[in-house]
């Protein structure tokens, strides 16, 4: 490590900073910064990393970055194709294709529209989208549900429609008296026939239902088989809707749902909700379950964890999900979670009060854990900076042999700092968006401790890239 140059250290720092930003930032309003500040800060970071570390910029597509940033990365890579050589382009193409395959279709269509607005239409772009569209399971479904998106994509990528019927549906509506494909025909009939509305996807059917004046309760009941998992979760509290199956929900999504309920309802459905959260956590932990030894966690439920109007209670939901996930990861009941408010019931967590992180860290260190996980937005304010000091003194005086491994996970991107906010230089910090990614993030956070060099970081990225492009083929 001694012979490692200063430039290498800076490079490693820049890469980690970008990964943290790409995991957490979504360009939406946060508790302390507006959407505009977030986007401006993120745009700079993307440009900086793309120009200086193009290889890394592409490789982060293989990590658990959020879809907003994945779309941005793909857009910028395609727009700046001239800066890459042939070998890089091949690697980028593989990564982009693999990432598009796992992204939600509406996001891909939105990305395509953004590329169209930016007038990016090179051969590579067209080929990538041709392949992606060819891999879609049912073009007719896309034509109905993402009509505008598919239309723009077909036009922009100069693609002939797969079937003549589809072309007529998109570009010459009203030309045909009827369609052979049942979904396309249902869409035609739904203009005048109520029964046909219920053969359409939920979002499309909603518009027709409003036009036909179908009561909401009747609509929700009859459309149930056509709804997606998340649509069911969103509408299930309404009259007539079918209850969603909580057992199959991803962990963080489930935590968000739990927090959206009132305290009374949470208390009433305690068994059901706790069971669902535990099951989701076990699923997320996978092979790691029960292997992490003694864990203590400090979880932030201060007022700032209420997030913003756009990311409602997101930081608190991440903390709640982490609570259950860490419980599953710890070996046999050797887990203890401490909320900053001092509350003992995670299911009834609510964002309130200041952030006395320092005192809670002390409480957690009292348990003599093997791992200490801190989930917080890093605004330690009661008193300010105490957590950082406690961790510094602990590391220096009381635990110099590093028996306890400390990691800080931060769900909030700090637009002014171009990174997630840190507690102390000695504590590795990683951004987190979905609690499910926690094991992978803890792995990345170790690079931030400054004990592993750039070469190892690059080989880690290569390994993840190989896994990602290999597995999605």
């Amino acid at each position: 490590m001694a012979q490692e140059s200063c430039a290498d250290l800076i490079a490693a720092e820049d890469v980690l900073l970008f990964v943290n930003a790409a995991v957490t930032a979504t360009g939406q309003r946060e508790f302390r910064s507006a959407a505009g500040e977030q986007r401006l800060s993120l745009a700079f970071l993307h440009a900086y990393v793309r120009v200086n570390y193009r290889r890394v910029y592409a490789a982060v597509l293989a990590l658990d970055i959020n879809d907003h940033n994945a779309a941005l990365v793909i857009r910028h890579l395609l727009a700046s194709a001239g800066e890459a050589d042939a070998e890089e382009k091949r690697a980028e193409g593989r990564l982009i294709a693999a990432r598009l395959a796992v992204m939600a279709p509406q996001r891909v269509y939105r990305l395509l529209r953004a590329l169209r607005a930016a007038k990016v239409n090179n051969r590579r772009t067209r080929a990538i989208f041709r392949d992606w569209l060819a891999a879609r399971p049912d073009p007719a479904f896309d034509a109905v549900k993402y009509r505008g998106g598919l239309k723009a994509a077909t036009r922009h990528a100069h693609l002939p429609p797969v079937e003549a019927e589809l072309g007529d549906f998109l570009f010459r509506p009203g030309r045909r008296a009827r369609y052979a494909h049942p979904l396309l025909d249902a869409h035609r009939r739904a203009h005048y026939e109520q029964a046909a509305v219920f053969e359409l996807p939920f979002t499309v059917a909603e518009g027709f239902a409003a036009r036909h004046g179908i009561p909401r309760a009747v609509f929700l009941e009859r459309i149930a088989p056509r709804t997606t998992r998340l649509e069911r979760l969103r509408t299930q509290s309404r009259a007539g809707a079918v209850p969603a199956d909580l057992a199959t929900m991803p962990l963080t999504r489930l935590a968000l749902y739990v927090l959206s309920l009132g305290l009374d309802e949470r208390a009433r459905r305690r068994g059901e909700l706790t069971g669902a959260l535990r099951a989701a956590a076990l699923r997320a932990a996978g092979p790691h379950a029960g292997t992490w030894g003694r864990i203590s966690a400090v979880l932030d439920d201060s007022y700032s964890s209420s997030g913003s109007g756009q990311k409602r209670r997101r930081p608190l939901a991440v903390a709640l999900a982490c609570h259950f996930l860490l419980e599953a990861l710890a070996s046999g009941g050797a887990y203890r979670g401490r909320w900053t408010s001092g509350g003992g019931d995670p299911l009834l967590a609510r964002p309130f009060g200041a952030t006395p992180l320092g005192m809670r860290v002390l409480d957690a260190l009292d348990d003599r854990p093997e791992r200490l996980v801190i989930v917080s937005d890093g605004w330690d304010n009661a008193p300010p900076g105490l957590a950082g000091e406690v961790l510094r003194v602990w590391r220096r005086r009381l635990d110099p042999e590093r028996r306890t491994r400390v990691v800080h996970l931060n769900p909030v991107y700090d637009a002014d700092g171009f990174d997630v906010r840190r507690l102390a230089p000695s504590v590795p910090t990683a951004g987190i968006r979905d609690a499910e990614d926690l094991p992978a993030l803890v792995e990345i956070a170790q690079f931030a401790e400054g004990r592993t060099g750039l070469a190892e970081l690059y080989s880690y990225l290569d390994r993840r890239t190989a896994d990602f492009t290999g597995s999605s083929r």
Partner: protein, 364 residues
């Protein structure tokens, strides 16, 4: 009563946003038997209050506070309406008005400001030849002062929005560039939570607005632990506790000294069971620390249950100083000038510059 007794209110860890520092005031337990609620008024701009005699007080009055000492707990104040309610263009009657039951409605800050505006409002008490006819006939009327609305103080809105209210918090001190701008304390934490946002509709002195506008971001007083003597977790915990104590002491003796140590002139407005509503004026001495006017409700031991202050600007302090001195010397320019160590001509100039030239016979 000559000073504010802030026993029971402890300063908590400060939170900083840009140039604004907010220091929470915590109570170990709420004041028993007193609650505050807010009643909003439909037309805050140019609202009028009828005072004693023919005097009128006109200002931006967005709401009044209702103090309830019946001990029955919080409830909607009499006259509270949901939604837009009645278009009450009617002038309010008196600054503090008894309501049915053990309730008193008063207008926060305006009560204190009116006390300041009414300072020697009657004008010259002896018709010396220097004073103008209007001054002798109408006194200082119309007496005008200006202040800034909290919403117009830069960064204050954001600072209040991201402020994390502490459990047990019953008040806050607002600093701009570390100058104390306002103190606000209520009897119960729930009242504070309900009234936290009303700071935006409060009045702030010119100085606070300028400091918030031009001041640089203030630094946080972050914790510093001396690690030389720490051998165990217990030591570490003790050192961390020491930090909290050190901040509290530093705050009370350095930052909030002008609130704790200044002798004020109190006048009682209303007696409410065991409590009393007062308004107070600072000593109008120029130079030195900030001068605050305000109103307070004290319990039977004189401890503060409710407090709201307004920081006067330098010019406002100067005007108060001149008026006090003139009145003390029966409005005789020569004697007053002598007491201030100046010549009558110089005093005349000072009166003019303070914006009180309407009092003088030859306004130039």
């Amino acid at each position: 009563m000559t000073a504010l007794d802030l026993t029971g209110l402890e300063a908590g860890p400060a939170q900083v946003w840009g140039g604004i520092r907010l220091v929470p005031l915590l109570r170990a337990e709420p004041v028993a038997g007193l609650r505050l609620t807010r009643e909003a008024y439909g037309h805050p701009e140019g609202a009028e209050v009828r005072l004693a005699g023919r005097a009128r007080y006109t200002s931006y009055i967005p709401h009044g506070f209702v103090a309830d000492w019946s001990g029955e707990g919080p409830g909607a104040a009499y006259g509270t309406t949901l939604g837009d309610g009645v278009p009450d263009r009617m002038p309010l009657h008196r600054m503090a008005k008894r309501r049915p039951g053990d309730r008193l409605r008063f207008l926060p800050l305006h009560l204190a400001l009116e006390g300041y505006l009414a300072l020697h409002f009657g004008g010259p008490s002896v018709a010396w030849e220097e004073w103008s006819r209007t001054a002798l006939r109408d006194g200082l009327s119309p007496r005008v002062e200006s202040a800034y609305l909290g919403a117009n103080v830069p960064q204050l809105a954001d600072a209040l929005r991201v402020f994390e209210i502490l459990p047990g918090q019953c008040g806050v001190l607002v600093y701009a560039a570390d100058a104390l701008g306002a103190a606000f304390a209520v009897p119960h934490p729930d009242d504070y939570r309900a009234l936290h946002a009303t700071l935006l509709q409060d009045l702030f002195g010119e100085l606070i607005h300028q400091y918030a506008l031009y001041g640089r971001p203030v630094t946080e007083f972050t914790a510093r632990l001396d690690d030389r003597h720490i051998r165990s977790l217990g030591d570490l915990r003790a050192a961390a506790r020491g930090q909290e104590r050190a901040w509290r002491e530093a705050h009370d003796t350095v930052l909030a000294a002008e609130l704790h140590a200044t002798p004020y002139t109190f006048s009682r407005v209303h007696r409410m069971g065991g409590f009393a509503l007062w308004r107070f004026l600072p000593p109008f001495q120029r130079g030195g620390a900030g001068r605050h006017i305000g109103e307070t409700i004290t319990d039977h031991q004189g401890r503060v249950a409710y407090l709201k202050t307004f920081r006067l600007s330098e010019n406002q302090v100067r005007r108060g100083h001149l008026l006090r001195n003139l009145a003390a010397h029966d409005w005789h320019l020569g004697r007053c000038a002598e007491a201030l160590g100046a010549t009558p001509e110089e005093l005349t100039r000072r009166i003019r510059r303070a914006g009180l030239s309407g009092l003088l016979r030859n306004p130039r």
